[in-house]
């Protein structure tokens, strides 16, 4: 029987076959590798499907046309960046359309310029930033830490998402506080939980955890913690030690 190191994988078998559960198109970032059919990741797999290996990918970049007002926003943004003497392809790494939502992946050095443009250009006018959310993609080597911003335009009644990535080895992203002052606390929170350093933030200190806390708790390599509990004579392990499926 196969095990986690992939022994027993049938090389003849097309692992990318679309009839496998939850398979998505190529091109997106690999978020993890699923082994076996049922997702149990501890205990022996006696099902016969243990050799199944497939990569789970996030939705990949979209191609034009994006549909609806997405093209208009993308055109306006590219045009406005060109007017400032920037090459849009350098600033916008990729554009993703998924679940009726538009996401621009921005190179981090261009983030402030892009955000300023999105806020000030009359055709774009994303006045309201709903803050930043960090995500830690452990398997996305070289781009582990993502900062995700949702921008709302009340003028045009639209919502877009900006995503910036930084490697774990160099966790720096420029601060957007100068463009959206509301991001002050949000960036402190993301720094506190993910260790993302927002360059240019007026006072980047911890906001939720105590000032002398070690580590950044919402990173994926930070354990949840907890102690086993005895209930009716049985030991119930801590939540992150329990049998789990993925």
């Amino acid at each position: 029987m196969s095990d986690a190191n992939g022994n027993g994988v049938n090389p003849e078998k097309d692992l990318g076959a679309s009839n496998l559960p939850g398979q998505r198109g190529e091109g997106g970032e690999e978020i993890r590798v699923q082994r076996g059919m049922f997702g149990a990741n501890n205990g022996g797999d006696t099902t016969g499907y243990g050799g199944l290996v497939r990569s789970v990918r996030l939705p990949g970049p979209a191609t034009r046309p994006y549909g609806g007002w997405f093209d208009e926003v993308a055109d306006e943004l590219e045009g406005a960046l060109e007017e400032q003497g920037l090459v849009p392809d350098n600033a916008i790494e990729k554009t993703i359309v998924d679940r009726d939502e538009l996401t621009f992946h921005i190179e981090r050095e261009y983030l402030v310029r892009v955000a300023q443009t999105l806020r000030d250009d009359p055709a774009l006018r994303f006045e309201l930033c709903t803050g930043v959310s960090g995500v830690h993609y452990l398997s996305d080597k070289g781009r582990e830490l993502h900062a995700v911003y949702h921008l709302r335009s009340i003028t045009h009644n639209r919502l877009i998402r900006l995503e910036v990535s930084a490697p774990d080895a160099d966790p720096h992203v420029p601060s957007l506080v100068s463009v959206y002052p509301t991001n002050d606390w949000h960036e402190r929170e993301t720094y506190d939980f993910f260790g993302l350093i927002f360059d240019g933030h007026p006072a980047l200190t911890r906001i939720m955890m105590p000032d002398d806390w070690q580590g950044h708790p919402q990173r994926k390599d930070y354990p949840l913690g907890g102690i086993p509990i005895e209930y009716k004579g049985a030991q119930i392990p801590a939540p992150d030690q329990r049998r789990s499926y993925s």
Binding site: H150, R161, Y180, H186, Q218, D240, S244
Partner: protein, 447 residues
């Protein structure tokens, strides 16, 4: 009270020397001595640490005020005292179990937390269109009742902080009626976990519609009492008017939403702008004010309560019998819950079926309950208009049975940032009014 000078060290306010200067620990009744001793020193500047356990700070909020006489020259918030790591915990439970966590975030608006989270999960699953009408109507019904109960607490505690204890008693009296309805429907007064990905945990129990109709009738009678007590009250107006001023530009820059934004005159409400749960089909108005102050926010909350009652009535008229969970058996919880004498649990009929007659149903139940369902990889953002403003959920799935990351953009957290802009330059006593007009709930701020 001691009459000795504070420098003798025997005063009621304990003093100790630190590198920052003299630090006094103030308890009741010794404020005069602090003011005296501060007047003696050549430095007029005092830094006051208010909270984190102070009756006027809406939970464990610490206000750090630098004051010069009675004027606040600098105001800062210290938060994090109620951080419970809910977002991290969600990553170790199934998607369905998530609702039991998120309902505890902003504990005064549990149904908004649950709905926002469930809308995000449903969007990730791509089943927004399959949610039964009845489930959406009950969600709207509960959210609007919740808007009422949240605004009632805001007005009640806000009044209490001004010394108006009558309005506090009135507010909690009416909130109690709503909590009784919650208890009847979900079995609990708070922390319901009633709204689930795909629909609801169970249908409305018999008698719920009648009790809500009774409540609407009673509330229509009670709401004008707040007007009579407070709206025209000169003391109330004098304390609230022009206090906690934040204009539209300030709101946009600081990301303030909800009553704070609408008090600056912008009728922005996600129920109208980006409708969810069928809000576009309901008839209601978005109240605004152009005063940018605490009094305007108070009036907006009062009017929103009237509008909420109107929506609740529309919900009751629309309720048709039908399912309250999606038809997809790979997502829907295997059975509706039932309210037994010992609380909410699996219905006896369902247990009979899985234990006695259908082994397949037992396997299905076991797999769905222990493993949960898989959600296709990707991310989404779902937002609802909570009583405090835009409550957004950024949910990321890695294709597994548990969330990869869920982030709550809580309106209290964002709006509380505006405290400094509202209070600096004002009086110390007005800080309380300004903070109360933001209506922060620390469970939501700290999560």
């Amino acid at each position: 009270m001691s009459t000795q000078t504070p420098s003798s060290g025997a005063s009621a306010a304990a003093a100790r020397e630190t590198t920052e200067g003299t630090v006094y620990t103030v308890t009741g009744g010794d404020w005069d001595e602090i003011a005296q001793s501060a007047a003696k020193s050549d430095d007029e500047r005092i830094i006051v640490n208010m909270g984190p356990q102070h009756p006027s700070t809406h939970g464990v909020l610490r206000l750090i005020l630098e004051i010069d006489g009675e004027t606040v020259t600098e105001a800062r918030c210290g938060i994090g005292y109620l951080h419970t790591g809910i977002e991290k915990n969600l990553e170790f439970r199934t998607w369905t179990q998530g609702t039991t966590f998120v309902t505890r975030m902003d504990y005064l608006t549990p149904f908004f937390n649950e709905t926002a989270y469930c809308l995000a999960v449903e969007k990730l699953l791509g089943i927004e269109d399959q949610i039964p009408d009845r489930a959406s109507i009950i969600r709207v019904l509960l959210m609007e009742l919740n808007r009422l109960s949240s605004h009632l607490v805001c007005i009640a505690t806000g009044g209490m902080e001004l010394g108006a204890t009558t309005i506090m008693i009135y507010g909690f009296r009416d909130r109690e009626l709503i909590l009784d309805i919650y208890e009847l429907i979900t079995g609990l007064r708070m922390n319901h976990a009633y709204i689930r990905p795909g629909g609801l945990a169970q249908d409305l129990p018999p008698g719920a519609v009648d009790q809500i109709r009774e409540f609407v009738k009673k509330m229509r009678k009670n709401l004008p009492e707040y007007d009579k007590l407070a709206t025209g009250n000169p003391i109330f107006k004098a304390r609230m008017q022009d206090v906690g001023y934040l204009d539209l530009a300030g709101c946009m820059a600081l990301g303030a939403t909800g009553p704070v934004l609408r008090s600056a005159g912008l009728p922005h409400d996600l129920r109208k702008a980006q409708p969810y749960c069928g809000y576009e089909t309901y008839d209601f108005e978005i109240p605004t004010a152009d005063t940018c102050d605490s009094y305007g926010r108070f009036l907006i909350r009062l009017e929103e309560m009237r509008q909420s009652l109107h929506i609740v009535e529309q919900c009751l008229d629309r309720l048709q019998p039908g399912p309250v969970m999606v038809a997809d058996k790979k997502i829907a919880w295997p059975a509706q819950l039932a309210l037994g004498p010992d609380g909410l649990g699996n219905s006896l009929d369902h247990i009979k079926k899985i234990m006695g007659t259908s082994m397949e149903a037992l396997i299905h139940h076991f797999k769905l309950v222990t493993e949960g369902f898989r959600v296709p990889p990707g991310q989404t953002y779902a937002a609802v208009e909570s009583p405090k403003g835009e409550l957004g959920v950024h949910a990321v799935s890695d294709g597994g049975t548990r969330p990869y990351r869920v982030h709550f953009r809580d309106p209290s957290f964002t709006n509380l940032q505006a405290m400094a802009a509202m209070c600096e330059g004002g009086q110390v006593a007005d800080v309380i009014v300004a903070v109360a007009s933001i209506d922060p709930v620390m469970g939501g701020v700290d999560r």
